[in-house]
Symmetry: C2
Subunit: 160 residues, 2 copies
DNA sequence: AAAATATAGACAGCTTGGTTGTCGATTGTC
DNA sequence: GACAATCGACAACCAAGCTGTCTATATTTT
């Protein structure tokens, strides 16, 4: 087996897509249609403290305008609520709604389920090793909630 | 360490992005600007026998219209040539040019280089194990040249 | 041979998720 | 009080997908 670097890249992407697609499909089946990974990660970031558009954009390595768009759709679906910020009149404070929390925990459960399936296939030990090594390779930080621009142009936006 | 399924997904995507971004950047530095992974995989597919738009679309799990767009940009850059098909007047036969071959082999070298760097970080044995396990999880097929839709809507297009 | 059907590629138009650039409103600092 | 920085909004654009429609050519069926 040749084991080229390109194969490795494809393998990683394939792995992600299998997980992401399965999760999206399952989420749709459980009553949350059109919920993409990006929505999930954005909500997680909001829940984790990125409670305004600019900050969310920063954490997701995306312009604030783009973040605002995501926020708008999340708001339309009732997953996040927008209110005024008592400390800064320019800001609009974001908050994950109860419905949003439901999606979040459902999504988490689904992902954990998928991971468990994988663990069953190759063994928990091997899966853990895979994760550990991948983490070493990707960087020390566990890539928290900042979704890395979603396979886009790679360069992080400057914005103003 | 919690090891949630979502973390795993992020890790996989992160890994892919690190490789893809590095490769894109390096390729740009060596004189092939704006060459994205999708171009590379499309060219590989063409070289591997997908010598018309419809077939390319099929292999990349993308509509033929979308494939046609990619082909158009590759042609503009002089990476593929379009000629008539002697056996079927509807078809336009695709061919990777010499310049295209250069990009291809350069890209391959870069990817292999990146893989070597990773091997140095966690050891060849571990990297091999990672690849093997990932392959088991993603599916038996090594995901050949069909780029899996590039983190899009997951559903494969029907088209006509 | 003719008719029905399938396929190749082109064109128009839409959607998603990004990007700049600009702007008014607000805040904080000198 | 003046001035720079920041927040969020708007407009315009782009890339890479999608669908739907169309013509020309092949292929298959009658």
């Amino acid at each position: 087996m040749s084991r080229s670097g390109a194969d490795l890249a494809l393998l990683l992407l394939g792995g992600f897509r299998v997980l992401a697609d399965s999760a999206t499909a399952e989420l749709a089946e459980r009553g949350y249609p059109d919920h993409r990974p990006v929505h999930d990660f954005a909500m997680r970031a909001i829940a984790a403290g990125a409670d305004n558009a600019s900050e969310l954009g920063r954490r997701m390595s995306v312009t604030k305008q783009s973040a605002a768009k995501t926020i708008a759709t999340l708001q339309e679906r009732g997953y996040v609520a927008i209110g005024p910020d008592p400390e800064d009149a320019r800001r609009k404070r974001l908050q994950v709604t109860d419905l949003g929390q439901q999606v979040l925990s459902t999504g988490e459960a689904i992902f954990d389920d998928l991971r468990a399936q994988w663990a069953q296939q190759i063994g928990e030990t091997n899966l853990r090793a895979l994760e550990t090594h991948l983490q070493t390779l990707v960087g020390t930080e566990p890539m928290r909630f900042d979704t890395p621009g979603w396979v886009s142009r790679g360069t992080t936006p400057a914005d103003g």
